[in-house]
């Protein structure tokens, strides 16, 4: 029966090629535009580490003095920590895993004299960073836990840098010269590019991951510079790196893994104890002094990973889709009414109302599927355009199966909805009117 309906639908499409292609194009454009915008939004907002996003917490401390605040966040907490705080809270053994973190970078000086030095971004972290964020290793492993207390010059690099410097061979045990200091390679990680770059949302939400990872404990020894934000509120004489380490400047980040609510509660208590201790020596003097733990999802929200431009575009694109659908209803009315005499004959020959109704819904569905397919093709084209427009999102924008199914579902659902009214109208046709004229 369905194949008969489909055959009739195909015939009817062939009979009104211009009207039908107008409808297919309208649905296609509507789906294409809204899917492009929706894909970008969906990919930006996607949980980058779904297995652990509710166990990984970014630590914020309200270290401002009286009268100071951060006007850029809703709760006015500073986004980063001071070095003394990062060092002190690292003593807590409550979290399952923990890491200090700093965005930095080096001049890499290749062994051979013919290749010129080049700049690479790097990150100073603790040994559990890789486990916490599920970073896969290709060769070797992270450094020993003791190095986080008694620093040594060890380094983990990514596979891209390993390809460039060592032709992709196992480089564990070999030397990497960063500026004037030589580091021993202990591990090589596979390609790792979380989008958004949730573990550091203060320095470009969709920036590339770093290619070099060194122990955070080396900071005071090699005066590792900050490549990220440095925010100060206090008038301090900061003339040297050692001054900066002791200052109230906020430039470090801190992540903890708290597997359940009990541990989270225990950790909050630990931090509050730490804060009241610090208050005795004159720090944390603001009435809002306290701690805020935000998990990955909350942290993305705080940092507005999805720009407001995208929300505006989502709104506009759905209005666009609405116009396309209204347009389709209008055209369907025209198409179906044109066929009223034929329907009259079919009704007179014994076709029931529901048969006529279903026949027209099959018509509409066929148009919807064709429009949806056109929409998917246009959506791919649109995403290609988005890639050229926003170079930083390039790795982000692709349609996965969910989105493809969603696109077809929206196209089908919207066109069936659009077809309901015209189909209902036409199945109520009184056959006698047309039979008289014929």
């Amino acid at each position: 029966m369905l194949s008969y309906y489909l055959k009739l639908s195909w015939l009817s499409i062939k009979r009104t090629p211009i009207l039908t292609s107008l409808m297919i194009v309208a649905i296609g454009l509507g789906i294409g535009v809204s899917m492009t915008v929706l894909t970008v939004n969906y990919m930006m907002d996607k949980d980058p580490i779904p297995e652990k996003s509710h166990q990984l917490y970014h630590v914020q401390l309200y270290t401002y003095g009286k009268g100071h605040s951060n006007s850029n966040t809703e709760d006015q907490f500073p986004v980063q920590l001071t070095y003394p705080d990062a060092m002190n809270i690292h003593h807590s053994n409550v979290p399952l895993r923990k890491t200090r973190s700093l965005s930095t970078g080096f001049s890499v000086i290749p062994e051979s004299a013919d290749s010129p030095p080049f700049i690479e971004s790097a990150r100073a972290i603790d040994h559990q960073f890789f486990d916490m964020f599920k970073v896969p290793f290709l060769f070797g492993a992270t450094w020993d836990a003791e190095i986080d207390q008694s620093p040594r010059e060890v380094v983990v690099i990514n596979t891209e840098l390993n390809d460039q410097l060592f032709n992709g061979e196992n480089s564990v045990g070999r030397t990497l010269n960063l500026g004037t200091v030589s580091y021993t390679i202990v591990g090589v990680i596979s390609s790792w590019q979380p989008a958004p770059k949730f573990y550091d949302l203060n320095n470009g939400n969709f920036n590339d991951s770093e290619s070099i990872f060194i122990p955070f404990s080396l900071l005071p020894i090699h005066e590792i510079p900050s490549w990220g934000n440095n925010n100060g509120w206090k008038n301090e004489n900061v003339n040297s790196y050692q001054d900066k380490l002791a200052s109230e400047i906020m430039w470090n980040q801190y992540w903890v893994e708290l597997p359940n609510e009990e541990i989270k509660f225990a950790y909050l208590q630990w931090i509050e104890g730490y804060i009241s201790e610090q208050q005795k020596i004159g720090r944390f003097q603001h009435e809002k002094a306290g701690v805020s733990l935000k998990n990955v999802v909350q942290w993305m929200k705080t940092n507005q990973v999805v720009p407001s431009d995208n929300s505006i575009l989502v709104g506009l694109s759905f209005m666009f889709l609405a116009v396309c659908m209204i347009n389709t209803i209008g055209l369907l009315l025209a198409k179906f009414l044109q066929r009223a005499p034929e329907v009259g004959v079919r009704r007179a020959l014994g076709a029931s109302r529901s048969q006529i109704f279903i026949q027209h819904l099959v018509d509409v569905s066929l148009i919807g599927v064709l429009g949806g397919l056109l929409g998917l093709a246009l959506g791919q084209l649109g995403l290609l355009g988005v890639k050229t427009l926003y170079t930083s999102y390039s790795q982000l924008v692709h349609m996965d199966l969910t989105l493809i199914v969603l696109a077809i579902a929206i196209a089908l659902g919207a066109s069936i909805t659009a077809g309901m009214y015209p189909a209902w109208l036409i199945c109520r046709t009184n056959p006698s009117v047309y039979l008289k004229i014929q």
Partner: protein, 403 residues
């Protein structure tokens, strides 16, 4: 003479299809007007004057890693080299470059007391040598430039003896227009006299509220990372330098890496890349939407014409001219468009109130409503023209057929 009455009664017989077109025109209008309003805002943002000699400037970063390199003599030698190059007007070491998206800012106040009470204005802090103003190409409107001996080379906290600020910052802090010679307070007891005012200079972050508030200081920071700004004679010379300058600097001293060699035009393009992307997307949405609505009107009117062929024929047989028929369909369309636009204007206002509420958008450009209305009328008439013409060609003989 415009046959409004018969048109209305015809429209009332096709309530649903008339209503659909009205709705479609209304939503199209709302999207088009709000879309172009956002486009206009971004265009205004991007066309702001930078106060600099944009097309003649190039910038680069130096990352030195040599151990005991004497940084001051290194910087001096670099700049001597840069200034001696053919096609170069001037060059300066700087801690940050306008429109680059990175740099230093600080809160400044008109007195120590004001600073202690947090009554501060945010401003970008530009540090460089006495060539900095000439290299940027900013225009001094009051006071004097920095002298050679005011410039300090240091890695410590700045000991600055003189400041030049932008007119915008001067107006902000000293509304009476007497900024010149006054002291600016940075907190911690640091106070520096204002010796000059420049007309205009853009800051580093295009979306920062203090974009135009900037402070220039005669001071060169000695650190491993620094930036140079070079002013060329013209665009061609600047383009030539883009390809040459890295090699020349590395040849002079190999213990460093040169990165980020870019023209100011490229920095500006990068700074506004999200805005221009938004503009492109909005243009596409607006144009496609107008196209779909126009095609929709063509489709519906064609259908109406087909359905009414007999009536048209009858009217023609009863003496209506071709122009009468054409006028009938155009008037019908104008009527529908007007109703659609009426609903559309309501929606636009509502939509805009919502957007402004949610996203802190700058004020809506009301002039777009009459412009948009006009455009929609034109589109309506253009779309109706072809099918209406076809209707006007219906032969009066049709009326006599098949009865």
């Amino acid at each position: 003479m415009f046959e409004i009455k018969p048109i209305l009664s015809a429209l009332l017989r096709h309530k649903s299809s008339t209503l659909l077109i009205i709705l479609q025109i209304a939503i199209t209008f709302a999207v088009v007007v709000n879309g172009t309003s956002i486009i206009k805002q971004r265009m205004d943002l991007m066309s702001r004057d930078t106060g600099l000699v944009n097309d003649k400037l190039i910038t680069l970063n130096i990352n030195s890693f040599g151990k005991n390199s004497d940084q001051e003599s290194n910087i001096r030698a670099d700049l001597e080299l840069l200034r001696s190059l053919p096609g170069v007007v001037d060059a300066a070491p700087m801690n940050q470059i306008p429109l680059s998206g990175s740099g230093d800012s600080s809160g400044v106040a008109v007195s120590q007391e004001a600073h202690d009470n947090q009554e501060v204005t945010g401003a970008g802090m530009y540090r460089g040598d006495s060539h900095m103003l000439n290299t940027l190409g900013v225009k001094l409107v009051a006071g004097r430039l920095f002298s050679e001996d005011e410039v300090t080379y240091t890695s410590e906290r700045p000991d600055v003896k003189a400041l030049i600020i932008t007119q915008s910052l001067a107006d902000n802090l000293f509304p009476n227009g007497d900024a010149l010679g006054k002291l600016l307070y940075f907190g911690g007891g640091i106070q520096v006299p204002i010796v000059g005012i420049v007309e205009h200079m853009s800051g580093s972050w295009v979306s920062w509220s203090s974009f135009d508030n900037n402070v220039l200081m005669p001071m060169v920071q000695l650190q491993n990372f620094r930036r140079y700004l070079i002013r060329a004679e013209d665009k061609q010379a600047a383009n030539h330098l883009l390809g040459e300058v890295e090699k020349l600097l590395i040849e002079r001293n190999r213990e460093r890496v040169v990165t980020g060699v870019r023209s100011m035009d490229e920095l500006i393009e990068r700074a506004y890349s999200d805005d221009s992307a938004m503009m492109t997307i909005l243009w596409i949405v607006v144009i496609l939407l107008v196209l779909i609505t126009a095609l929709g009107i063509v489709g519906i009117v064609s259908f109406n014409v087909n359905q009414r062929i007999k009536q048209i024929g009858t009217r023609r047989a009863l003496g209506a001219t071709k122009a009468d028929i054409l006028r009938y369909f155009v008037t019908e369309n104008l009527l529908i468009t007007s109703l659609g636009l009426f609903v559309g204007i309501m929606m636009t206002v509502g939509f805009n109130v919502f957007l402004a509420d949610q996203f802190e958008m700058p004020e809506f450009n009301w002039a777009l409503i009459p412009i948009g209305t006009l455009i929609m009328f034109v589109i309506g008439i253009v779309s109706v023209w072809l099918p209406a013409q076809r209707a006007s060609k219906v032969s009066p003989a049709i009326a006599t057929q098949s009865i």
